[in-house]
């Protein structure tokens, strides 16, 4: 009996300390995520120009947003940015990550070099690219390469391509890092067995590396997809959503309505939509990856 009670009393403090450990994160989350979210939700039922008094106007803002042809367009652009940047970044990151997972020293050096874009702020990257892409004083004109001096930010298709390129340039290093870690965790024994069976490099990559990276792919994809919803600074500085509204993603649409056009009600409605879309996507990706989460990822899987 006495040993039992001792055990129990030994466990109790642990139970009471766990919630405490979560408190800082919870406080931050409540203060900086939940409270503003509730505020935004409330604001979406009002009319406010950001300066004067706030008037409750029911569904006016929602009606204005939902009937505006700008909303489906912004949703479509957001989806395109998400899908295309995922499709560009994922293969590149997997290949780079696999390459960097090798232990050779030159690969470590390259790894550091590849990492540099991640250390720059989005705004700085956008300003640098804006200057490089200037059709008259940019890279193309400077090097005398006609192919490079296009109206990069002035044609809808080109501007969209530039956004995808710059986003990928900035974030491929981060995802490569994730994949590098993933590849390094794959047991060597799998490769040794495959080599004994006479599998070549390509075969090893498709039959061992890729399947073993499944969860890493899901993690990285979640970050990419949900992260792409919040692309704002880069696009704002690079194109301001232009030309016209060719690169106006949802986050930018929200900012422009709220802070430039002084329509805080509709902007809040868009913010709510943005949150819902983000939650739905995160949930969907978890479902996709989580179905056989119990199955072993390592040796047992083969």
């Amino acid at each position: 009996m006495s040993t039992l009670t001792a055990k129990r009393s030994g466990r109790r403090p642990r139970r009471s300390i766990l919630p405490w450990l979560a408190t800082p994160a919870l406080l931050l989350f409540t203060g900086f995520a939940v409270v503003p979210l509730v505020g935004v939700f409330a604001l979406s039922f009002t009319t406010w120009d950001g300066i004067g008094s706030i008037r409750v106007t029911g569904l006016t803002s929602w009606r204005a947003v939902l009937t505006d042809p700008g909303l489906p367009h912004a949703l479509w652009v957001t989806f395109l940015v998400m899908a295309v940047s995922w499709a560009v970044q994922t293969p590149l990151s997997i290949l780079l990550g696999t390459f960097l997972a090798g232990r050779q020293r030159y690969r470590a050096v390259l790894g550091v070099v590849y990492f540099i874009p991640l250390m720059l702020s989005s705004a700085a990257i956008a300003i640098a690219y804006e200057a490089l892409l200037d059709p008259n004083f940019g890279l193309g004109a400077g090097l005398g390469v006609e192919a490079l001096s296009k109206d990069w930010l002035g044609r809808p298709g080109l501007a969209f391509g530039v956004v995808i390129f710059v986003v990928s340039w900035q974030f491929v290093p981060f995802h490569s890092l994730i994949y590098q870690g993933g590849v390094q965790q794959i047991p060597k024994s799998l490769y040794e067995a495959a080599q004994l069976d006479g599998a070549g490099r390509v075969r090893q990559f498709f039959s061992i590396t890729l399947p073993q990276l499944k969860y890493t792919i899901i993690t990285s994809s979640t970050l990419m997809v949900v992260g792409s919803l919040t692309f704002f600074d880069l696009i704002f500085v690079l194109t301001e959503g232009g030309p016209g509204d060719a690169t106006r993603v949802l986050a930018l649409d929200m900012y422009k309505r709220g802070f430039q056009a002084s329509l805080m009600g509709p902007a809040s409605a868009i913010a709510v939509i943005l949150v819902l879309v983000g939650l739905a996507l995160a949930l969907l990706l978890r479902r996709l990856g989580g179905r056989d989460a119990a199955a072993s990822q390592l040796e047992g899987a083969s």
Binding site: L21, P135, D151, G242, G244, R257, Q260, A261
Partner: protein
């Protein structure tokens, strides 16, 4: 024991977080203590003059200080709006008057300065009368006009005109005839920083005025129904698209920003022949263009007539002045400092001299002699005449309209320049936001 250590660690982790949270609140906020705060735009050479006026005032009044902070143009427009909405506005609010000032005034965020101007009639008498229009909302003055008058001017590069052996345009038809001549020589007819949007707007401001007279846009400001569908408005919008279709603007203009002054660089590097830009551009070309200005290669004129148009040729568009308002939320002490600054710190002799030195015309009356003595006498005299002799001085549209309408305007102007919407679509999109 191990558990209690974990508790300690947990607490240790929590303390800095809560400390950081506590540090977040409390600090910042408008003007601690008695000093008045003042936010304005950075970017030389204007920033130096603004800072100089504040420094001179602070030196002359050691007891009443003004703390100044500077912001980049586009960032400032958002920042000041947010700050005012959050009750964190600086004591002195720098701005462009017009529609934005109206929004501030209607929300009771800025002080009514009418009584103060009545008590200090000399202050008002010393400034350009035309500058008070954009400071007035429903008959009350909510801002003190300051700094310089900035009409929009048609600049041209004399070197390029000589090389192509053509004369500066005297009408819209001349402009359209010049376009193929410059294009044939590989020179862009007009430089344009199209990504900045308001740069494109200047073209419409002039075309509307020259074709239909100032009444067309005035109707839009006053919220008249279908004001933008006026036949003259459609004619102006069509004329503009004709110029775009004729390759009148530099290739890739939609990728060029005005913030980097790349549009002006095109003009002084002989890659473009002409440019429609604000009077402030003269100082930039002088500073960045090497001997472009000093060798008398820069020509300037008021926008020419459009055949069959109704607008008076003396009419101009642009910024009649810049404006300083006082936040209604400031303390009585801060308001007093701000008013002293308005009376004794704004456009004093030294500041006036510096503006003139930068190639701008300050809105103080009676500076003809200083202007004539300046190195830039020809340009300054020209600007002074344009500004003071204009029958109508139309305020820049994006400043005159409400912020909501201005945003729609700028968005649609870009689409108009890209030929992705027709003049009729442009008109109906704008009718939807300006009609009262």
């Amino acid at each position: 024991m191990a558990l209690s250590r974990r508790t300690l660690l947990g607490l240790a982790a929590a303390v800095p977080v809560s400390a950081a949270l506590a540090a977040c609140s409390g600090s910042s906020g408008p003007g601690k203590g008695g000093a008045a705060t003042y936010w304005y735009l950075n970017g030389q050479p204007q920033e130096g003059v603004r800072a100089g006026a504040v420094d001179a005032f602070n030196k002359a009044n050691p007891d009443t200080q003004i703390e100044d902070t500077t912001y980049q143009n586009d960032a400032y427009k958002t920042k000041i709006k947010t700050a005012i909405g959050a009750g964190q506005a600086p004591t002195v609010i720098w701005g462009w008057g017009g529609g934005t000032l109206r929004a501030y005034a209607e929300a009771g965020q800025v002080e009514d300065l009418t009584p103060w101007f009545d008590e200090n009639p000399d202050v008002k008498k010393g400034l350009f009368p035309s500058s008070f229009g954009a400071a007035t909302v429903d008959g009350k003055i909510y801002a003190m006009p300051c700094e310089t008058v900035q009409p929009i001017i048609l600049y041209y590069n004399k070197r390029v005109f000589d090389r192509v052996k053509v004369d500066p345009p005297e009408s819209w038809d001349d402009i359209m005839a010049l376009v193929p001549k410059f294009n044939a020589k590989g020179i862009a007819p007009f430089a344009l920083g199209g990504q900045s949007r308001w740069t494109n707007m200047m073209w419409l401001e002039f075309l509307f005025d020259r074709i239909g007279g100032p009444e067309v846009f005035q109707a839009a400001i006053e919220g008249e129904k279908n004001a933008w569908s006026h036949p003259d408005a459609i004619k102006a919008l069509t004329a503009l698209q004709d110029l775009v279709k004729a390759d009148g603007f530099v290739k890739g203009f939609s990728s060029i920003t005005a913030d980097s002054n790349a549009d002006q660089a095109l003009l002084y590097t002989d890659r473009a022949a002409m440019m429609l830009h604000g009077a402030w551009s003269y100082g930039i070309q002088q500073a960045d263009g090497g001997d472009f200005v000093s060798s008398d290669s820069l020509g300037f004129m008021n926008f020419p007539a459009v055949e069959g148009g109704k607008g008076d040729l003396s009419n101009t568009v642009g910024n009649p002045a810049q404006y300083l308002s006082i936040s209604a939320k400031a303390s009585a002490e801060q308001k007093k400092i701000a008013k002293d600054f308005f009376a004794t710190g704004i456009l004093q002799e030294e500041e006036v001299k510096q503006w003139i030195g930068n190639g701008s015309v300050p809105i103080r009356l009676g500076t003809e002699k200083l202007l004539a003595e300046s190195d830039n006498a020809e340009f300054l005299q020209f600007t002074y005449d344009v500004a003071s002799k204009a029958k109508v001085f139309v305020q820049s549209w994006d400043q005159a309209l409400s912020p909501t309408a201005a945003e729609t305007l700028l968005d649609n102007i870009v689409k108009l320049f890209q030929l992705s919407i027709s003049p009729q679509q442009f008109a109906s999109n704008l009718n939807a936001v300006t009609a009262a």
